[in-house]
């Protein structure tokens, strides 16, 4: 295809992606170097019949002028990245300089907002991905043994947790895990602890969020593995059986190697997607016990009194760096495949 025709065809797509993906990323990088203006305070004397008192208040007019002149705020360099709400360099230094052993260091670092979010994001990412894949694989093997008539309805039900709006799905589970909901109440009576609730127990919050993650991500692996199972070479399976391989040995040495490339694909996609975990934190109102990097950005943007664009932007940049690290294996794989095709 000649260059000219190619660019005419692809121009609208490229324009949309440049305007709304490339530019925002650049804009985020620039914004992360700025902080919002400090409040301009003025002292006014307020006289009433009972005497005069001086009050300090925010000079709204001056603030508006400042905002109009420099909408991005003040230039701050890397201050946003290093402050307490992000990498917290000073705080970490203080903790490392003066602490009571490893447990103390871990606990105090975990209390810093950024590291709290980072640890949940990573745990979610690296626990949910393999567990959901294992669940998906098990469902795929099981559904594959079903008679034809039952397969359709089972697949239908199985893909519901994946297709559901993430916020809606997490709300549905959150209501069931509510202390007055069916699962929350059952948990309370099973453990004999009438105060057990998501709000009160960080451990329970993490477990429930992970359960939600596996529930909603499992079906994707299931669908992919189920399709992969249909292409397993039956000759190899037969000959392995003739050679005396047990059912488990056939699964382990014939089926699993056949599905390995698919598994890599699923793992890479799911790691990237799980790294941006966000809606369940909102849906489960879990922010007191578990936050994620995406949630931190969201929280800065919906800020009660002022939107912290600089702070949101620096968390965004750190998140993007994290995504790029997770993305390297995918890019290398695509690169290799392209070169193989080209040869």
């Amino acid at each position: 295809m000649p260059h000219r025709t190619f660019f005419v065809f692809i121009f609208p797509s490229i324009l949309a992606m440049v305007l709304f993906i490339t530019l925002p990323i650049l804009s985020v990088v620039v914004q992360s170097l700025f902080v919002q203006h400090e409040a301009v305070l003025i002292t006014v004397e307020n006289c009433t019949p009972f005497g005069c008192e001086t009050q300090t208040r925010v000079d709204t007019a001056a603030m508006q002028k400042l905002q109009a002149d420099q909408p991005m705020g003040q230039f701050a360099g890397f201050a946003n990245y290093l402050n307490r709400n992000h990498l917290a360099v000073d705080e970490i230094g203080a903790i490392l300089a003066d602490n009571r052993g490893f447990g103390d260091v871990a606990a105090r670092i975990f209390n810093l907002p950024f590291y709290k979010a980072l640890s949940f994001t990573l745990v979610y990412c690296f626990l949910v991905t393999p567990l959901a894949m294992a669940l998906g694989f098990a469902i795929a093997l099981a559904v594959n043994t079903l008679p034809g008539l039952l397969k359709g309805p089972t697949i239908f039900v199985s893909i519901l947790p994946m297709i559901i709006t993430p916020l809606v799905g997490s709300l549905i589970l959150a209501w069931m895990f509510n202390p007055s909901g069916i699962l929350g109440a059952t948990l309370q009576s099973l453990t004999g602890d009438p105060t057990l609730s998501l709000r009160a127990s960080p451990v329970l919050t993490w477990i429930v969020l992970l359960v939600y993650g596996v529930w909603t991500n499992g079906p994707f692996s299931f669908v992919v593995f189920y399709a992969g199972l249909q292409t397993v070479p039956q000759d190899t399976v037969e000959s392995a059986k003739i050679d005396g391989a047990s059912r488990w040995e056939v699964t382990r040495h014939v089926i699993m190697p056949h599905l390995a490339p698919l598994a890599t694909f699923v793992a890479l996609v799911q790691l990237m997607d799980n790294f941006r975990v966000f809606e369940p934190i909102v849906g489960f109102s879990a922010e007191a016990n578990a936050t994620s990097l995406s949630w931190l950005v969201f929280n800065d943007l919906v800020g009660q009194d002022a939107q912290l664009f600089g702070s949101a932007a620096s968390t965004s940049v750190i998140t993007i760096v994290g995504v790029l690290i997770l993305l390297t294996p995918v890019l290398r794989r695509t690169w290799r495949e392209f070169n193989r095709k080209a040869v």
Binding site: I10, P12, M17, S27, T145, V330
Partner: protein
């Protein structure tokens, strides 16, 4: 005839038990919430026993019937959820149509260009596909405020189209690769221009791939929370951010049931979608995977 294909009874029982548990885990939350949405709060969130949600004791006492539409009335009529539903309809349909139109052209060009820059565009799309949406949103807010285009539906639609493009391009690119090159090339030998060949030869055979891709565009627009909740003003909200804002005002008695009813209402279209397009959704997911 295959050797030893009969499974032992114990294994069959195990498989069946596992599947039953999974099907319950997958379906029960939906069934429970749909059922509960027709009850009052004291039943759905019963302090005594979840059995009262099934029998509807409080619902009976408060409304006189075992089922009540109070939640739906509160959400759809009192809180104007219908407006949000219309907005969702506008947003998702526009996103799907625009994504597909420009994505088909782009995906076709990528599939037919043998040059290296086509590959680089695909790599860039892959990176863009991985970007967390909320980080992009934090880049939009300030410029959109400055340009005074924040809060309205068209802005959100275009943003969702753009966010959706990388995926659409990849999907349609690999779909067009599966349509033989000879088809449009022979049309061009017969005197068609590239665009005529696309219109008269490719468009008639591309619908299966376009429908599958369209389903995923629809889902992205429908399921989005990050973009719609941050970029839409209160009066323009679509269903998902509207549900989130119900939660903000949850303290008031009865509001939880408004949210439950709204959640169930937002789930119904997805059910219908899966019911009719299960085959396409499954094949779309696997197409991406099998081809890498």
């Amino acid at each position: 005839m295959s050797v030893a294909t009969r499974r032992p009874v114990a294994l069959n029982a195990l498989i069946l038990a596992f599947l039953v548990i999974w099907v319950i885990a997958a379906a029960f939350p939906f069934a429970w919430t749909v059922w509960g949405s027709f009850k009052v709060e004291a039943d759905f969130f019963s302090r005594q026993s979840w059995w009262s949600a099934i029998e509807g004791t409080r619902t009976q006492a408060q409304t006189g019937g075992a089922f009540t539409l109070a939640g739906y009335d509160g959400a759809w009529v009192k809180n104007e959820f219908w407006k949000a539903a219309i907005n969702t309809l506008i947003v998702t349909l526009s996103v799907t149509l625009i994504s597909l139109t420009i994505g088909t052209l782009g995906g076709y060009a990528l599939a037919r260009s043998g040059y290296r820059y086509a590959f680089w565009i695909l790599i860039a799309a892959l990176i863009f596909r991985a970007m967390p949406h909320i980080t992009l949103v934090s880049g939009y807010m300030l410029p959109f405020f400055q340009l005074n285009i924040w809060g309205v539906l068209p802005t959100t639609i275009i943003v969702l189209v753009a966010i959706n493009q990388p995926f659409t391009l990849w999907m349609l690119h690999s779909f067009f690769l599966s349509i033989p090159k000879d088809l449009d090339e022979s049309a061009m030998v017969d005197g068609c221009t590239r665009f005529q060949a696309f219109r008269m030869v490719i468009i008639p055979v591309m619908w299966p791939g376009v429908i599958t891709t369209g389903l995923f565009s629809f889902l992205l627009g429908y399921n989005d929370f990050a973009v719609t909740s941050m970029l839409l003003a209160q009066e323009n909200q679509t269903m998902v951010p509207k549900i989130a804002s119900f939660l903000g005002s949850i303290q008031n008695e009865g509001n939880v049931m408004f949210a439950v009813a709204a959640v169930v209402s937002a789930t119904v279209p997805l059910f219908i979608l899966v019911l009719f397009f299960q085959r396409q959704i499954v094949s779309g997911l696997t197409a991406g995977a099998v081809k890498g």
